[in-house]
Structure formats: C-alpha cells, structure tokens
C-alpha cells in the first residue's frame, strides 16, 4: 500500500521541497567557491539570530535588545578558549560552553528582569550589552592586560556545516515551541499577561524559560562565528549592531510566522554582502526606510504579503481558468 497517499498533496510538495533543499545545502560546499560558502554561513548566522530573537520577542511582545549580549558571550567564550596561541578545548566543546554561558546569562537576566514591564525590559537588555562590553574591556585591560585576542583558524566549510546544524536546530526548536503548550502560553502573555496569569499560566517561568532557550542558539552562533572574525576585542564581540540587525530582519520578514525571520535574514544578509561594500551608507539608509514602511504598511512583514498576494491573484487566476474553460465549452 502506498503510504504517501495519506499525506495531502500540499504537504507532499512541501516535503519534496524540503528534501531538495536539504540535499542542496548539505552538498553546497562540494561544488561552490569559497566566497559563496562564506556567504551562506553568514546567512545561517543571521537566520539563527533572527529566528531565536523572534522565538521569544515575537509572541510575548517583550522587546529584547539583548541578542548582542548573548551572541557576544559566545564570541568571547571562543576568544578565551579557542585562541591562536593554543586552543584550550576542541571547537565543539567551545561551542557548547559558549551556548551554556549564554543560557546562564539569559536565565539570570530573565530571573531578575522579566518582572519588569514592557519598555523597562527593553531598556535593561540594551544596558546589558553595553555593560558587558565595558566590564569585559575593563577586566581585559586591568587584569589580563590585553586589548583583544586572536582566534585559532577554522575552515569556511567547517563553519558552514556547524552553522547549518545550529540553524536547523534553531528552526526545529522554534517549530516545536510554537506547537507546544509553551508557545500557546507565550502567545497568551503577548495578548494579555494578566489574563494569562489568571488562566493559570506561570508567566514568569514561561518567559524565563523561552528567553534562556533562545539565548542558547545565539551563544552557539557567536562561538561558531568567532573564528571567522580572526581578531576579537570586547567592542567587536559586544557590538550593539548584533542586537539591532536581527530585530530589523525579523520585523522585515514577519514575526508571526516561522519562515518570516528566515526570509528576512536571508534577504538582509545577501544584500548586505552584495551592496554594503559599495554603498555602505545608502545601504543602511535604505534599510531604515524599509523598516518604517514595513511597520506602517505590512505589520506582518514580507511573510504577511504571501497570503495577501494569494488572495489577490487567486481570484483572477481561477476566473481566468474557469473563463477559459467556459469559452472552450462554448466553442464545441
């Protein structure tokens, strides 16, 4: 008996598409130039950042400006444990340590801040990034007497595969959280936190848990990307831009869906690499304008455009289709 019969056609198409995508991505470094492997790795990194940001901030509505803190913790873990003059741990272990450190930081941050409402949470997370930057800078200069650290070499292909793995893990986690009780609880918090609490949702626990989970992937992405930076100092590791860009990408792509931030990250990363070198200032200027336009006219982001287009185009196309048939009928 053919099992595939039980899967609806739409889903069958989706599965086939996913399979092709997986084969394409896993074999990608075999036939591509170094340049494109790097480009894809950067896209994966941004996807991880955008999806994990949207995992928490999307449904709950709590604007976290902390991605740079968690990403930076990952980067700096690699800077300490995977130095050029002698790595202390193998790369996979460094990545695990980096993500655990991010998890702990997010957990502690969540523990003390998630009782703060709305805008105070955004301000606090923003302060966290600059605080860590200044603190580590101070410690490096006064205690370890270095301005920055050189990181051991890792090939582009290795970085590509590790980031691909982290990317898949992030997407799967985001997918399952969306479909779980946890996802529903987060949405109810975003809708009305007090009502959610009255319905029996332990709002603080839900928020801390998902906030910490989302930080794991940012930390892992940071630790993996660090070797590509070659040289790291606290200013580079805890760059506030890493907080702003994932938000921009997630809002651009649409926070309401899983694939929205993926689209946003891919478009942003690709255009960044292609256009930023030539037109660095016009490039960011344009993104600023796009961001504002999206907030006003496409609150659901690019992903929100897809069902709209389908509705717009679906009518005329089916009419055309039926109309054609009717004409055919008339001719006979």
């Amino acid at each position: 008996m053919d099992i595939t019969r039980f899967i609806p056609t739409n889903r069958k198409l989706l599965l086939v598409g996913l399979l092709i995508l997986i084969i394409f991505l896993t074999t990608f470094p075999l036939y591509s130039k170094e340049y494109y492997i790097r480009l894809m790795a950067i896209i994966f990194m941004y996807i991880v950042l955008a999806v994990s940001w949207a995992m928490f901030s999307g449904p709950t509505g709590y604007m976290s400006l902390a991605p740079a803190a968690f990403f930076g913790v990952g980067v700096y873990t690699a800077a300490l444990l995977y130095q050029l003059k002698g790595p202390l741990l193998p790369l996979p272990a460094v990545i695990v340590v980096g993500s655990l450190a991010s998890f702990m930081l997010a957990f502690l941050t969540g523990l003390v801040t998630l009782r703060l409402k709305g805008i105070y949470f955004a301000i606090f997370t923003f302060g966290l990034v600059v605080f860590l930057k200044e603190l580590i800078n101070y410690l490096e200069i006064t205690v370890s007497k270095v301005g920055g650290r050189h990181i051991s070499y890792v090939s582009n292909t290795t970085v590509f595969y590790i980031l691909l793995g982290i990317c898949v893990a992030t997407l799967l986690t985001a997918y399952f959280i969306r479909r779980s009780r946890l996802g529903l609880a987060m949405q109810s918090i975003g809708g009305n936190e007090e009502a959610a609490a009255h319905m029996g949702v332990n709002t603080t626990r839900v928020k801390i848990l998902t906030f910490a989970i989302s930080a794991v992937f940012m930390g892992a992405a940071g630790a993996t990307t660090a070797p590509r930076l070659v040289y790291v100092d606290p200013g580079l590791a805890f760059n506030v831009t890493y907080s702003f860009i994932p938000i921009l990408m997630a809002v651009f792509g649409g926070m309401g869906t899983l694939y929205g931030p993926v689209i946003g990250a891919a478009v942003f990363a690709y255009t960044e690499i292609r256009l930023r070198q030539q037109y660095p200032y016009y490039y960011m200027l344009t993104w600023g304008i796009i961001l504002i336009i999206i907030i006003f006219f496409l609150p659901a982001g690019l992903a929100g455009l897809i069902p709209k287009l389908r509705d717009r185009l679906g009518g005329p196309i089916s009419k055309l289709w039926k109309g054609g048939k009717a004409e055919e009928h008339a001719h006979t």
Binding site: G61, M63, L116, I123, L128, F131, L285, I295, F296
Partner: protein, 291 residues
Amino acid sequence: MTETILKIVVSGLLNGGIYALIAMGLSLQYGVAKVLNIAHGEFIMLGALITWTLYTGFGINPLLSLAISGPLLFVIGFVLHRTLFTSLKNRSPSPAALEGNSLLVAFGLMFIIQNIAILRWSALGKSYKYLDTVVWVAGTAFRVNRLVALAVAVGVGVTFYLFLTRSRPGKAIRAAAQDPGTAGLMGININRVLPLCFGLGAFLAGLAGLLISMCYTGSTPFMGLSNTVIALIVVVLGGLGSIPGSFIGGLILGLIGSIVSNWDTALVLVAFYAIFMILLLIRPVGIFGKK
C-alpha cells in the same frame, strides 16, 4: 583635601549639566509622547554637526547658531511626530503595542538620520575651538566653554521647569502626560501637544549637541548612540517622564562619574551601567518617578 573635593564636585557638575540637557529631551519625548526615542542621540549629533558647519563655514557664533539649529530641529521633531508617530498611535491597538512599534520606528529613524549625516559630513571627527581658554577657580583650572555650558544647561533647565509649571502650553503638556484621553476631553488638542513635546525634545537634543561640540573634540555621525545611552541612564535615574528628575539625575550622574574617575577613569562607564541596571531592578520608576 578640600581642593580635591571641590575639583571633583565642580567637574562633576560641568559634565552633569550636559547629561541633564541630553536627558531632558528624551524624558519629554517618552514621558508625554510615549515614544522611547532611541534616535534621540542622532538629534544631538545633528545639533553638534550643524553648529560645526555654521561656525566653521559661515562664522556664526556657536551659541547664537541655536537660533538656526534649534528651530530647525524643533520642526523636524514636530513633523516626524505629526506624520509618523501620530498615525502609529491611531493604528496601535494598545499602549504596549504603541510603545513597541514606536521603538521600532525610532530605530529606523536612527539608521536614516545617521547615514544621511555620514553622507553629508563624512565619518571624520569635526572639531572647532570656541571659548577654549582657561580660568582658575580656587586653584583649579576650568575651561570657559565648560562653564558656559553648565550655565546654559542650568538656565534651560529652570526655564523649562517654569514653562511646564506656569504657562498654559506647559500645563497642557503635563495634563497630556498624566492622561491623554481625559486631557483631550478637557479641550486640549492632543494631536498638537504630543508633536509639540516631540519637537521640544528634538530642540533640547540639538542644544545639547551644540554644547557637546563646543566642549568636546571630534563630533562624528556615530556619536549619537553613546549619547542615547547616557540619556537613558539619566532618565532611568531620575524617572521616565520627570523633567526635574532628569535634571537632578544628570547632575548626580556627573558627580558619580567624577568621583569614580578620581579613583579609576576606566571604571566610569562600568559604574554608570552598573548603577543603571541596579536601579532598574530596585526602583524602575526612578528617584523622582511616581508609581
């Protein structure tokens, strides 16, 4: 000993005056218009660079150039609120959604203003010398421009306080800060008062930028964000939306900075952020904020 203390206090107040001015605008924008304007520092940057252009290009006295840069920034702020944030307010279903969305719009504005400024002024630091002489007070040297900046900051702080408490538009602003809906019912045109606050915030930012360009060297288009952060710290210290709070918070932060820098200069920013975060946790409404 007394001399050291005097020096710490005076230099703290000199920095604190500028901090206060940076923060008052942001406090006005958030406290009344409910926009957490993360682009606030970009208006400060515009103020600094416009002053530089007017002084080095046209020979206009930096202090008098406020007559040009002030109204210009006020109009930019007013129009931005009237167009972007007012329609955002009408679209947003809840105050929380409005705060989130306006943060994102301010975010876009930050990118736009900063990059326009780079295209106009390039990324190089801009400096000029004005009132760059030294006076001796109680055995310690102080720059005249710093003293002028403190005087201007105090003057503006007092004027603003009087404007808010005594004048009719000031009272309308305070009413709108307390409850925009009721204020509207009392006959206050909310769609005029909120843009007014936003414009005044941009005006104050421009004035702060003017003083910064006068006192510190090397104004660049990238100076905005660090000033936004200082403003956020002061505003949290004094209480979001409280103008006297921002003023006193600025002076307190200046004093803390000079006390810490007397001990170890590298620790100043660490101390600022540590205080900021501890304060957010213990008393998020700030010293002067109301629950």
